[in-house]
């Protein structure tokens, strides 16, 4: 199939981007002076959350589209996107804790950012639990769409928690970051180039995983159809 060939090309392209991104992180970006090597976690940590937020936003849009059209393809997209989003926000949360161990001298603290991030993670784990608890496909899709829309509230709350509340989580971009206020060092050009390349790579990785996951869901539907035909014959 033509689409399969495109998917394989995307798989190879994504793999290549990941190799280059890893090379940039370890060989191109300089070592940060005060944190040492652990600062390199930043290059994959922020893109993980970026992709997580995109994935959950796609679920929100797919949920709205499903409620408007009742077309199953939107439900498939929402489910695929939540699964991938959860992988990335889990990655972001764990690696954030790993970074915090030597920098904050504690791996976890109930800081506003960490607390809201945990709430987001739990909200989307609950999304999958909700889906697995409903057997009627139409009812499942409808409930999941509504839940996916409501649960998205946790994503902007997580993002703005460091801006609106007192938090020890660093703010690297935007008007509130210490470099913009003149109280901290900005990222060097090589750090910025590495960061934006990683951001692009993770976005492509998300698209690739999403395509693969949707393809799997289509195969699942085909099996269900074949089973139904066999039983009805």
């Amino acid at each position: 199939m033509k689409s399969d060939r495109y998917l394989q090309a995307l798989n190879v392209f994504t793999g290549l981007l990941m190799v280059i991104a890893t090379g940039l992180v370890f060989l191109y970006a300089p070592r940060e002076r005060t944190m040492g090597e652990v600062q390199r976690i930043f290059y994959f940590h922020v893109p993980s959350w970026w992709v997580g937020a995109i994935a959950l936003f796609v679920t929100l849009v797919a949920g709205i589209a499903y409620l408007r059209t009742r077309d199953r393809k939107w439900d498939v997209l929402a489910l695929a996107s939540v699964e991938i989003g959860l992988v990335f926000i889990t990655m972001g949360t764990i690696t954030g804790a790993v970074w915090a161990c030597p920098i904050w001298n504690t791996c976890w603290t109930w800081d506003p950012r960490l607390t809201t991030a945990t709430i987001t993670w739990l909200a989307y784990v609950a999304y999958l639990m909700l889906r697995s608890g409903i057997t009627n496909p139409d009812q499942r899709a409808r409930f999941a769409a509504v839940y996916g829309i409501v649960a998205f509230i946790s994503v902007p709350i997580t993002y703005y928690s460091t801006i609106l509340l007192r938090s020890i989580h660093p703010v690297v971009f935007g008007p509130n970051n210490p470099a913009a206020k003149g109280t901290g060092d900005p990222l060097t050009p090589t750090m910025l180039q590495t960061f934006f390349f990683c951001l692009f790579t993770f976005t492509v990785l998300y698209a690739d995983l999403l395509w693969n996951r949707i393809r799997l869901e289509r195969l699942t539907e085909r099996v269900e159809q074949l089973k139904a035909r066999l039983l009805s014959a």
Partner: protein
Amino acid sequence: MLFQTTTPDTLNYLIIGYIVFFGLPLIFIGGLWWRQRNLEKDVELLKELKQDEQEQGKKK
């Protein structure tokens, strides 16, 4: 870090972090591959069953 004069050795944490970065997506991709393999087996089996049923129907 307030009166720090040297760069701390945090390499171990970096290694743990990147094990997570590569480990979790690999587990997810492995899961996708495993589910796809099982589904393809199911498709083959169901096709065979359908073919058998059609052949039996013709004999009758």
